[in-house]
Symmetry: C2
Subunit: 200 residues, 2 copies
């Protein structure tokens, strides 16, 4: 294949391990010479199809307790601030809709990282529109204008379509990485392997 | 703490990711100067407590399909032979009982690795006593004598006690690594982090 190797980074703002992945992927992809397409989606409908109406970390508390400790260790190793958000999982529909708008702009990745930092770094409830507005304002954007565009039918539908695409690709969790030749890698701990595959 | 750093390696013979972990841990632990205690246990009773009567990879087929491909890639990268075993998961009670006996002997780790190789490398059904007997014979052991000792009440009970200990430690999957200061790490992809923690 000619041209730059590309990888799709599928993330969900409620996903705990998507936080370190979103913080790590930029520098690692650049070092590997891989281009990244950021693809926000919603896990809710995908979990529902598996019979879950909640995060599996809440449904299986033993696994949940482990995950929080594991995430805390990972953040400490990366020097990332960490706070367990309440409630968990958060309502991420608005954040994902805004991300779709934002990622068409130069400040899109910064928006996504700032949302993760607010949620898992500072423990803010990003389900509240004011939290998203604060992130937008912090990036020098007109928060009300962006929020309004995010809530228009066309954009709502675009997020639905993107979530359906994730499901069609066999994505069942986040973060997930999808290569142009159809390889799926799941989890922050598979980021390096996914980039290496994309460069083969 | 004085003395050699130690880590407990909790594994289940039916566990797919325990296969690469069992093959990797020896060299990595030696390079880190960490001693490893091999602790076979059964996931069945632990899964039952979470409401599962089967492998989650069978209960959630989308996740299962991903896992088999992921494991295939991991084995290829490690130059490990790989065959998807049928049936899956296998009945591992006998293998785990024999492992308890074997790990008190110098050939214990070799036995465990040979069982994994038979199962995930050659696709043998290790639920069949003949498969375990063949592994024992291949190691120069008196298969019938070992199998007989493995099926004695005291040994059966020892495996039960060990499985209960795993559950008490908060172990919910395999492979798991447990440090002497009480840190749990889950998954083949956490082996390096667990060894690094043990050496802190």
């Amino acid at each position: 294949m000619s041209g730059t190797a590309t990888i799709d980074f599928w993330f969900e703002f409620a996903s705990t391990y998507s936080y370190p992945a979103a913080m790590r992927i930029g520098a690692l992809a650049q070092a590997s010479g891989v281009q990244v397409r950021w693809r926000p989606f919603l896990l809710g409908p995908i979990f529902k199809a598996q019979g879950w109406d909640n995060s599996p970390f809440n449904i299986y508390p033993v696994k949940g307790r482990y995950m929080w400790r594991d995430l805390e260790r990972i953040c400490a190793a990366l020097d990332l601030p960490f706070t367990q958000p309440v409630p968990f999982p958060q309502n991420t529909v608005l954040a994902a809709r805004v991300a779709l708008i934002a990622l068409a702009q130069p400040w899109g990745k910064s928006f996504c990282q700032a949302v993760y930092r607010a949620e898992f770094g500072s423990g803010r409830n990003i389900g509240e529109p004011t939290a998203i507005a604060d992130v937008l304002t912090g990036l020098g954007q007109d928060a009300q204008a962006v929020l309004q565009r995010a809530q228009m039918d066309g954009n709502k539908n675009a997020l639905r379509v993107q979530t359906e695409e994730a499901q069609r690709l066999g994505i069942f969790g986040a973060p997930s990485f999808f290569t142009t030749d159809g390889e799926l890698f799941w989890g922050n701990d598979r980021l390096e392997a996914a980039l290496a595959w994309a460069k083969r």
